[in-house]
Symmetry: D2
Subunit: 499 residues, 4 copies
């Protein structure tokens, strides 16, 4: 893993870094809460995602759909009080909804099956007309309030219909019907909306993708995006409240993603259709203890370096720890999906996303990728990310072609590893307080930021030589930038250090 | 320096940790500015001082004193618009004025001599009655606005009259007159006010203290506090805008402080009168490059461990870098007095003060002090500070008597040294931008916070064994606290790390 | 109503103005939401209540109580994640919980009956030991987190058990059992806690109070407070989503309150026991259209002038419009209980409470009360509130004894009436937008603040003469304060107006 | 003044409403202060100006220019610490500098003459090369920091050189030299910069404009803007600290502005060159008591309705009361130039500007203007402003052509007059506290906002009939907008009012 990296002049490597396209969230109703919004603000201030996707848009806590009787006639009315409150905040935080259409309002449902602690109804509508009316009414309402930008908000039909818990009996034909009715209603209303599916997870995924596209082809539907999920752990062992997983081999998981890409491209009609990974993470449970570790950060660093190869977009599940699928979290750290724990404590994985965003801001021209690193170039110089998944610490040497600069280059490293940025350990060492008081939260937070260090790198022979140490489960972001040395009259840094 | 520390049960060492009593500031008129208030808010939020002392209360930028003619008669009026604005903000930030009475309003002055770029007039009043009227009017105004707490705000007469630049010809007798007139006027108004002097620096200090107390004795005055300053560098070499100093031997400086204590105590009447060090720092110039270094932090750590031995109170000069005595700062880092640089970048020395405040909050019972460490005890456990002034890195072993605790002890370290918390270096490596843009300031700030790490210390034989590494010019704060381990049902930290 | 008020010197009238003791809230789970906290912050900043009381402490959305099986044994665990989040915020907003113990956790319930859209379970516990264990565990947890102040937080057992919807079959004996078990458990844990009941509303109130006290007497229980509710409208007509009520005669309602006082005082053992009106308002439904009107403000002004006569404390139901008992509000103004509408629009009734708080801050010595006014005195002068319930506009003349003051008196009026402070009308005139956008909310808010006017009142013969116009459904707060005229040199107000 | 306004269909009136182009400020150094920035934020949040213009860019408190000696040679250095701090804040508040080049740095000055309490040096440079070097260095620095938008920031050479106090001896030829040197240096650096002059006030204005353009013509210079000032009061009487003025006839002042326009247009080369009124107000002194009155607001309403007729742009002098030209303000209200008094109390004149900004936001198509009103139209409906300068109250009737709308029109009025929005009166009635405490400031502020009222206007015969009452010195903004009535199911506003 630690052979020297030598970059040749004019190297150019494909790399689709779409890290900030979308992020996942607990059910939309939770977006009413202060802790949720505080965590989302933190994430948006530090990283900044474009879209946010979550379940429960039509669930009863958002309270959109209502039936009533008047003069003996059953009628329908919609209530957007909470929806507007939620989406207004999203816009204020400069993030837009990725509209996942689901689950079923209780009054519209054909059955009583629910999923999650918060009881999302997962049965088909008792009448598809009620469903499509509700969807179109919603889109009209959104355009009235937010304007024509709503046309660009991606739409996805339902969530994980390939699991019986999420869609009654995982009935494929019934899902295809839902998709068709929804797709046609939306496109009839305004064909510019972008509608995708089938939003499946890894269970029988090939069968579903194949079946879905055959259905679409037969029905003459052209989905704008193909959507699926991507998790990378084995089935967990549950002990008490918690799930202990083993990570899967990442190659196997990437192969699985590639096979979806291949199926899509095997259809003449759908070749090249963008694939959106509308959920991904390591563990797929909100009690997956790995989520809070430095290992998670390192493992995701590899994921983010390659997931764009076969997918246009991808969305980490989830931005924060306000989440109730398996009940209210029992403790500060509890293996929640979030990048951020309660009280805005960034977990190590947060920094993996932050570093990829910094990389994207630095430059888009990739010059190197391997299993443990990625490096990009821009006019400013070079930036890169290195990670170490479960290996012993090592040092990576890097040789980069540069134009010599008399003032040298500024070399910045930002390091996240088990020694310098490990809030989980500090919390454990404190005794694992389930409900920390403010002082404890602040202390834990003070151990949750990268170690930032710098040096001046002098160049000779048009080469810059770097050495970066990457500890076990560490992730290191670096920048090497042209330096302009502008000391003030009389200032001598070296002399200042001596007294 | 690095022999093992072994604390015996029931050890008790005297230690006057009054770190948060007072802090210095640039001229009061600067307290109108936003950058000043932002830095002060930062300092108050993180440390929290009780009083703030600075020059220029009566200088013309605060604009209190005005003369005018009416019907051919010269009259006086006072304008408290700016004063109230400044003090209102101080109160809002939970800090109170330590009232230094000076300098002279231009219209009241007997001469034209000024000090500083901002031209504080340093001549005696043309008429002492005008002066005492102004002082008493001010105190009345303050009581009207802020209530009876004003009686507790310490008052000091003038600043460094022993320097000819600060008081016309450094005329000792004229200063004594100023003191007497002021003291008597205030005590006549309300004897509960606390009035001190002579506010001298180290030049001819013994002579001044002796003379001042003899004068007071002869005149029957009982000053409430004796005040002086304390700087610890040799005369600098100026290059361009900057001053390069050599640090003095700290023992010599402490001896000098002790000699003031001895003089005061040699007077029967004044024995035990509190001494306030109303200014102290390493360098006494606002371009003293040492101020921004980690060395400064380490040197001050020793100062703070001992300065309370012979002085009731002391006030670091100054909290922030908004300061104009030698002109407007030319560059972000410029050797300014502040604990905090522009844009709220904490300098290493900031953390020395923060650590002493944390130590004070932890407990007041001292169990150990030597040249490079101080340790206190409380019901919670132990806390301490270690520092390393210009030595190579070493490790300090500490043995502390504890009651065994089945869950062990939480051991927290907060480390500030040249490698992990060195904003000056990062700025230098960036090329020393004089006027950093926001992104640069944020980057520098990200390298300006302590490295926080933790461990669980298990105890055997009623002893806890610690090992703390202290790098060159490093300062390390630690806490060892009883730990209550309350893992949630099923949570296993060690297992969570493996996947 | 509008005869002249003439106050004699040294008049003193009893008046218990306890306006800021407590305020009601929607279910506690809603306190997690941002809109709720924003409204509460607004109320606390402007008025400032000491306690807050609401339902749902033990309901499943707060998620405290959980059962699980381990090794074949049923066990119990408590989760305080949300509870701490809620109460931390309350403390931060300087308000404390008035602990209403209820409703029943689903897993502890003996039945399935629920109340409200949000489905609070209203059946007795399946095992009273589980209930009292949960209550005591909670109190211990609260003391651990918030300290000994928790001992002062009032405790009330359940809510409106006299209604079958709120307590299974409105079973009086079962409630008494609940009360006794809870009371004894708490007093056994720490007898300093203050525990009250029976928390009834107006249905069969005399019967319940009488029965409750007889039961307590028989069992040797001494409740610290007697609690009941107070609403003042007739049974409504429901049209669509909304309830249209007729206001009841206020005398009748006060008589009803007095009768409770009389019953309590008829028991030797309970004579003088404080009565807490733990809920009061005009309409008792969250769609009671009167809540948003100026009439509501005027009617409450009378209530607040007299409700303290027979009750130690009282709590308006509720501070804000985040409320879900009958579903999510359908529209900005919807007859919600709140003093404040969504987006922090103060309703007219908000100002009634604000004015009574200002009156309390001004002074506690009452000099006049009649059906449409109350006046208090302090060293500063006089303050009062006048209101007009459904009458035509009139002018009230007031003569107040004063010591003549050469600079006169400052006379301030703050007026809230249908013409100058009527956000409901502005919203109606806008077309009744259900979900206003930010600009609409701001516009409505700009019509929701009192008209503030002033005058200088000159005095002669030791009397001040005021004339205050009170329009229909108006509420006017006034202050008459000693004035100190301190014009700056050369400033002439009258001349300034001419140019 | 109060004849009925009848608007015919398709009426279109020219009207240049450029109210938000620019606003004036006290010396730039004051932009470092917190109170200044707080007031500017308030103004920007409520109104939002594009540019800000003030004196003192090169004065010594901003501290840009410095000379020093090195190796026996005099050298120059620039310090942008404060400049960047100021301009960074401007950008943050979404306002850009209108660069007024002046006054002279002390070290560059040829003489010692100063203007103002804050002593701006008003003499020519000792060497024009030093001056142009400093100007060009500044522009380069600004482009480096703020990018190419700097090219659009207007530049003006000096301030009021036609007054001997502002330019040594008011030496016209010397000013022309300054202009030429500056203009040529800037245009040589980058010809896209926009440079204007001669920045004169009303003294000998025709002579200066004529002379300036003849000079430019002779030298082949093409100024981008012609700049002058506009004040509308007679010479004041000073009493104590204050100035009492008589307002001039507004026709005379508009004629004077027109004559400048005519002179410019009389030059073939300069015909149509934009004229910028870089300062205007009623009184030209910072102690002009009229500034704080409702009369000022009404008088300015007329000014703003017509000043755009002969001038492309205009800039009110000034946004706030942080100002030191005649010393530090002695009292809260002191006749300061600001729209806003200390503590963010909007003066009546603030609302005149706010109303013109609201008018601009509403629509740009003017349908009516007379001496006391202006009305514009847009798709939404109509908006207008009415004012009353020193007349008795009257009612204005307005007939507007509309398309009938079944839900009617929403009619909003916002009224500012001596009765409903008069903070000066409230302050006077309080006794004219020079330094109000926070509670007093809040009380005064509560009387400083418009009275907002509404109605529904029903239409018949395609006409809407309005009646607007305008009290003495009142300003009324109104909007008449299409109304969409969307009552919720069952909501009946009229019925809600009855109970």
């Amino acid at each position: 893993m630690n052979e020297k990296i030598v970059i040749e002049l004019n190297t150019k490597i494909p790399f689709n870094n779409n890290v900030d396209f979308c992020v996942g969230t607990g059910r939309l109703g939770l977006a009413l809460t202060e802790e949720y919004l505080s965590e989302l603000k933190f994430v948006q201030d530090e990283i900044g995602f474009k879209y946010i996707r979550g379940h429960g848009l039509f669930s009863d806590d958002v309270a959109i759909y209502h039936e009533y009787e008047e003069d003996g006639v059953k009628k329908v009315e919609y209530n957007y009080t909470y929806l507007d409150r939620i989406f207004d905040k999203f816009i204020e935080l400069n993030i837009r909804p990725y509209l996942e259409l689901g689950f079923m309002p209780y009054e519209m449902a054909s059955g009583t099956q629910t999923v999650f602690y918060w009881k999302g109804n997962t049965t088909p509508p008792k009448d598809y007309k009620l469903w499509t009316d509700m969807v179109i009414a919603l889109l009209k309402h959104l355009r009235g309030r937010y304007g024509e930008e709503v046309l660009e908000w991606p739409i996805e039909v339902w969530n994980e219909p390939n699991l019986p818990g999420f869609w009654y009996k995982a009935d494929m034909q019934e899902y295809f019907k839902l998709f068709k009715e929804t797709f046609n209603a939306i496109k009839t209303y305004d064909s510019r909306f972008k509608v995708g599916g089938p939003a499946i997870c890894g269970v029988k995924d090939a069968e579903w993708i194949q079946g879905f596209l055959e259905f679409c082809k037969a029905e003459g539907l052209t989905p704008d995006n193909i959507t699926r999920h991507h998790y990378t752990v084995e089935f967990p062992e549950r002990v008490g409240h918690y799930d202990y997983h083993k990570l899967e081999d990442s190659e196997m998981r990437f192969d699985n993603l590639q096979s979806t890409r291949d199926i899509v491209d095997s259809f003449e009609e759908y070749k090249g259709t963008p694939i959106h990974i509308t959920e991904f993470s390591t563990s797929y449970t909100p009690k997956g203890v790995i989520h809070d570790t430095n290992l998670n950060a390192a493992y995701l660093a590899e994921q983010l370096s390659r997931i764009g190869d076969m997918n246009e977009a991808y969305s980490y599940w989830t931005f924060g720890d306000v989440f109730e699928e398996q009940g209210v979290p029992d403790s500060l750290f509890h293996g929640g999906f979030g990048m951020v724990a309660a009280g805005n404590i960034p977990k190590p994985a947060f920094w993996t996303f932050s570093f990829y965003k910094q990389l994207k801001n630095f430059g888009s021209e990739c010059v190197f990728r391997d299993k443990t690193s990625v490096i990009v170039k821009s006019e400013k110089g070079y930036a890169g990310i290195l990670w170490n998944i479960q290996s012993d610490a090592y040092t990576r040497d890097i040789e980069l072609p540069v134009e010599a600069n008399k003032d040298g280059f500024t070399f910045i490293t930002k390091t996240v590893d088990e020694e310098c940025c490990n809030p989980l350990k500090l919390w454990h060492d404190l005794g694992e307080p389930a409900y920390p008081v403010k002082e404890e939260t602040e202390l834990i937070k003070s151990a949750a930021y990268p170690l930032v260090q710098s040096a001046v790198v002098n160049t000779a022979n048009d080469k810059a030589e770097l050495s970066i140490s990457v500890k076990k489960n560490g992730v290191v972001y670096f920048e090497l930038s042209h330096r302009t040395f502008t000391p003030d009259r009389g200032y001598d840094y070296e002399r200042a250090l001596k007294a």
